[in-house]
């Protein structure tokens, strides 16, 4: 998963995205970039706005959601196209891998047909050609005896197989961007590992950018090139995966990672670290930092005004000199009045 040429279009470029339900922001002023061939992990607790962001990017939100801001996928802005055209283009631009493949596949159609549809609609293939192509797509996600699986209905497949089918479907038209909405959450651990491995291999073949939504830090450690941490609808920290993973600047990121570290090293019976309190409810006007009520570094300023996303450097202060090689190519940002970068 190599870095992309600097001038190429990003797989995904999100600028100042807001998603509001009934006037309340679920996603608040989010900017994010995913390079081709890169996996950006979007992490955060349930209801932090991760899925709204993902669905907003793919323009799959219900019409009751108000979306503002700019989203370009491989240089194309779907919002600039008329509705029908946008919907047609989208399938070639972004593949969406849902969390629950059982629910996301139509129960009364054979899975091969559901993949073949894409080729009939978007490539003008005949029914026979489309079904042959569907079998090839199933083989591509390393499914044994793809001819047989193509004729199976979703309920006849195992959870891992269904998720492979979902992945085959999302990648069928080779979109430059994949959105994976916690695709391994419902799977057992060994199947999870297989799916992660598969996605890594496929990405190496296609060079798609991936926005991977998860709250599983193991997945992040395994796959991510870039980490974006969401809290209460905002990105509170984002940066290169190595940097953020080893030296989280935001107290929330640190807490999230600590839950993971405790799981890995914790002796049986040891108390796991948990973040006190729960995320705030959606609110239209919020003074101060959303994380402040749960934050160990809270001070007066935290209650007075929300922190801006600012550049972070290892060593704690922006002035700290770094050897040239260690300066991150993309900015590493955190939204905190008291960023502390552990060495």
């Amino acid at each position: 998963m190599s870095a992309a040429p600097a001038l190429a279009d990003a797989a995904l470029q999100v600028d100042n995205l807001r998603v509001c339900y009934a006037g309340l922001p679920a996603v608040d002023d989010v900017s994010l970039r995913v390079e081709p061939g890169q996996v950006a992990a979007l992490i955060g607790e349930t209801s932090s706005g991760k899925s709204s962001l993902a669905l907003g990017v793919a323009r799959l939100l219900p019409s009751s959601a108000v979306v503002t801001g700019r989203v370009t996928i491989a240089g194309a802005d779907l919002a600039e196209l008329p509705g029908r055209e946008a919907r047609r283009r989208r399938a070639g631009l972004v593949g969406y891998i849902a969390q629950d493949a059982m629910a996301a596949l139509n129960p009364v159609l054979p899975v091969g047909r559901q993949i073949g549809e894409l080729f009939r609609m978007h490539r003008g293939m005949s029914r026979a050609d489309a079904s042959r192509q569907a079998v090839r797509e199933l083989a591509r996600v390393r499914i044994d005896r793809p001819e047989r699986v193509a004729g199976a209905y979703p309920h006849q497949l195992s959870g891992g197989m269904r998720q492979r089918v979902m992945i085959a479907m999302a990648m069928a038209l080779s979109p430059p961007l994949l959105i994976a909405d916690e695709p391994t959450t419902a799977l057992d651990v060994s199947t999870q590992a297989e799916i992660l491995h598969l996605v890594g291999e496929l990405q190496a073949e296609t060079g798609s950018g991936i926005l991977w939504i998860t709250h599983d830090m193991g997945v992040v450690a395994e796959l991510a090139d870039w980490i974006a941490v969401m809290y209460a609808g905002r990105i509170v920290e984002q940066g290169p995966a190595d940097e953020v993973f080893d030296h989280p600047a935001h107290p929330y990121t640190e807490a999230l990672l600590r839950t993971r570290r405790d799981l890995r090293t914790g002796r049986p019976g040891a108390l796991l670290y948990q973040i006190e309190g729960s995320p705030p409810a959606l609110s239209a006007d919020r003074r101060g930092c959303a994380f402040a009520p749960r934050c160990p570094r809270r001070s007066e300023i935290c209650d007075e005004r929300p922190p801006d996303l600012t550049a972070v450097r290892p060593g704690g202060s922006p002035e700290a000199a770094l050897p040239e090689a260690q300066v991150p190519t993309a900015p590493w940002l955190a939204a905190c009045h008291h960023p502390e970068v552990s060495p």
Binding site: A91, G95, A104, L105, N106, L109, Q114
Partner: protein, 306 residues
């Protein structure tokens, strides 16, 4: 799948037999003397007794019961007391007549109900109007709807015959009556299933795949509405075939329902029994057919229950 079917058929046979036994016993609980019904003006007790002997009505109940079911297993439904004609030959043509009406009625309710359901789902503005129509026809009894149709289209507009009969012109109003009264159920089922389907993750997947709206509606949404609709159609066909009594009476449609009513009035027990048994078979058969069709359209129902 085969085992499921065999079990269903076995249950069906048991159900039909149960209905037959109950019907047989009921006839003897209901007061009335068939002999007097056959010869209402007979003065002497000897004449009546003679009739009873001829019809074996003088024998003990258990003997009559065994006689009847013995013949039934040979496929013989007996002879009408009144018409001196075998019950089978009486019911046969009327079953066909009722069959046409049942079929036309079900087609009408599927078209009317399905359209209402789809419209109210796709166009939220129509929802209140559709709900009002549904409620109206749910509340109106069949004979009222039938009489109103007859009044408007038959007597006022002279667009439909009012004399009774079983031709293609005569079928329109009774079928429409069945359709209007049955439509609310289909409308509701279609609307509920569509709403479920439209908000489902698989429809979101289909939208994400950039499939055209109309294709999603037909291939992904309505395919999932089919299964419960087929169950309803099977139930309705069976029920209507066993006699749409009120509609047949209102429109003078010479079907099984009319035959059953007349036979009940005449205490023509073999014919009543015949209509009950044929009706029970129709109900069982069409529910079975519906189950098989459902297995075809919904693969999840194909698996053997654990």
């Amino acid at each position: 799948m085969a085992r499921t079917l065999i079990r269903r058929v076995a249950f069906g046979v048991i159900a039909v037999l149960g209905v037959a036994v109950l019907a047989f016993l009921l006839e003897f609980v209901v007061p009335g003397d068939p002999a007097r019904a056959i010869a209402p003006r007979a003065q002497s007790a000897a004449v009546l007794e003679n009739i009873r002997i001829q019809l074996h009505l003088n024998r003990p109940l258990i003997v009559q019961f065994l006689d009847y079911f013995g013949e039934l297993f040979r496929g013989n439904l007996g002879t009408s007391y009144v018409q001196r004609q075998s019950v089978t030959s009486l019911i046969g043509p009327r079953l066909l007549t009722t069959g046409w009406l049942a079929l036309a009625g079900v087609i009408a309710e599927v078209i009317i109900g399905g359209t209402l359901g789809i419209l109210s789902t796709l166009y939220p503005r129509l929802r209140a109007a559709v709900a009002a129509v549904n409620l109206t026809f749910l509340a109106l009894p069949q004979f009222v709807v039938g009489l109103v149709l007859l009044l408007i289209f038959g007597f006022r507009l002279h667009m439909a015959p009012v004399t009774g009969g079983a031709g293609p012109a005569e079928i329109v109003l009774p079928a429409l009556t069945l359709g209007l009264v049955g439509a609310p159920w289909y409308s509701q089922i279609v609307a509920d299933q569509m709403a479920d389907s439209l908000s489902s993750a698989y429809v979101r997947t289909a939208v994400a795949k950039g499939l055209p709206d109309r294709y999603i509606l037909w291939r992904h949404v309505l395919r999932n509405v089919l299964s419960p609709a087929i169950t309803m159609i099977g139930m309705d066909l069976g029920a209507y075939l066993s006699g749409v009594v009120t509609v047949e009476v209102v429109f003078g449609w010479p079907g099984i329902g009319l035959l059953a009513v007349n036979s009940l009035q005449n205490l023509d027990r073999p014919v009543v029994m015949g209509t009950v048994i044929v009706g029970a078979i129709a109900v069982v058969l069409f529910n079975l057919i519906a189950d098989v069709l459902r297995m075809y359209v919904d693969p999840r129902t194909r698996e053997e229950p654990a």
